[in-house]
């Protein structure tokens, strides 16, 4: 670069300074900032498992409901029978 002597004499003088270890700290901050954030796989799986658990519970309730109703019915029959007058057989 062919510059004038006056500029060459100035030797790119600059009065600015920086705090100690400034560039090292800045580099650390930047490399942290650009790191890809890990996807929250755990949270996604928790939602999926919870949904499946709720669905399974509901399915179980619907499947068992007729059996539960029958059990309830037969217990009621037993109570009613207890109050019936005794038959010849009894």
């Amino acid at each position: 670069m062919n510059d004038s002597n006056e500029l060459n004499e100035l030797k790119k003088a600059m009065p600015y300074t920086v705090p100690n270890e400034f560039f090292e700290t800045m580099e650390e901050k930047l490399t942290t900032e650009i790191k890809p954030k890990k996807p929250k796989r755990c949270a996604v799986w928790i939602v999926i498992i919870s949904t499946l658990a709720v669905a399974a519970s509901l399915a179980l309730v619907f499947l068992l409901r007729p059996a539960l109703d029958k059990a309830e019915e037969s217990s009621f029959d037993n109570v009613e029978m207890a109050f019936q007058p005794l038959s010849e057989k009894d």
Partner: protein, 180 residues
């Protein structure tokens, strides 16, 4: 230590972005910080603008056109960040290239300025008295030794305009120093 070539940096970033970015920082962190600092003067502002520059470089790298100079592309982003800081001080979104940053003329009192470096202070005052486009042309040519073509790319200008701005700036600076 052998200086990493821009083409090597690009190759590594494409393959291993984090490793490539570290290489890019090794080459450009200091030059970019000092380039911005010479324009905005205050260390805190230069720090903010430099960090923003590198974050933008990393995030926009997918859009970087390899037919253009990597150096010019990075300096263009840095120039915009510096002008944004200067513009904000004047209540504008971004400082126009024809404006001066007059409020910096007396070098804002800052613990990170060595006022005992009289030559340095005088030279910076001379530079800061110039319109932004002449400051940029001068700083990039004199301190960073960019080619006129790269400076033109960094400032959305032409090589001829950059050459003219640089020579006008040089004459004004030399006159300022002789008269002060």
């Amino acid at each position: 230590m052998k200086k990493t070539d821009d083409s090597d940096i690009i190759k590594v970033i494409r393959r291993r972005p984090e490793r490539g970015f570290k290489l890019l920082l090794d080459c450009y962190q200091k030059p970019i910080y000092w380039y911005i600092r010479r324009m905005v003067v205050a260390h805190a502002d230069a720090q903010d603008a430099a960090q923003e520059t590198f974050v933008r470089v990393f995030r926009a790298f997918g859009q970087y056109d390899e037919s253009q100079s990597l150096r010019a592309w990075i300096y263009r982003i840095a120039t915009n960040e510096a002008l944004r800081i200067l513009g904000r001080r004047k209540g504008e979104e971004i400082l126009s290239l024809d404006e001066t940053s007059e409020d910096l003329f007396n070098l804002k009192a800052d613990e990170y300025v060595d006022y005992s470096n009289l030559v340095g202070v005088q030279l910076q005052k001379a530079i800061l008295a110039l319109p932004a486009k002449q400051q940029i042309a001068f700083n990039l040519r004199y301190y960073d030794e960019l080619s006129y073509e790269d400076i033109a790319l960094a400032t959305h200008s032409t090589s001829d305009n950059v050459k003219a701005n640089y020579h006008i700036a040089k004459e004004k600076i030399i006159n300022y120093i002789k008269n002060n």
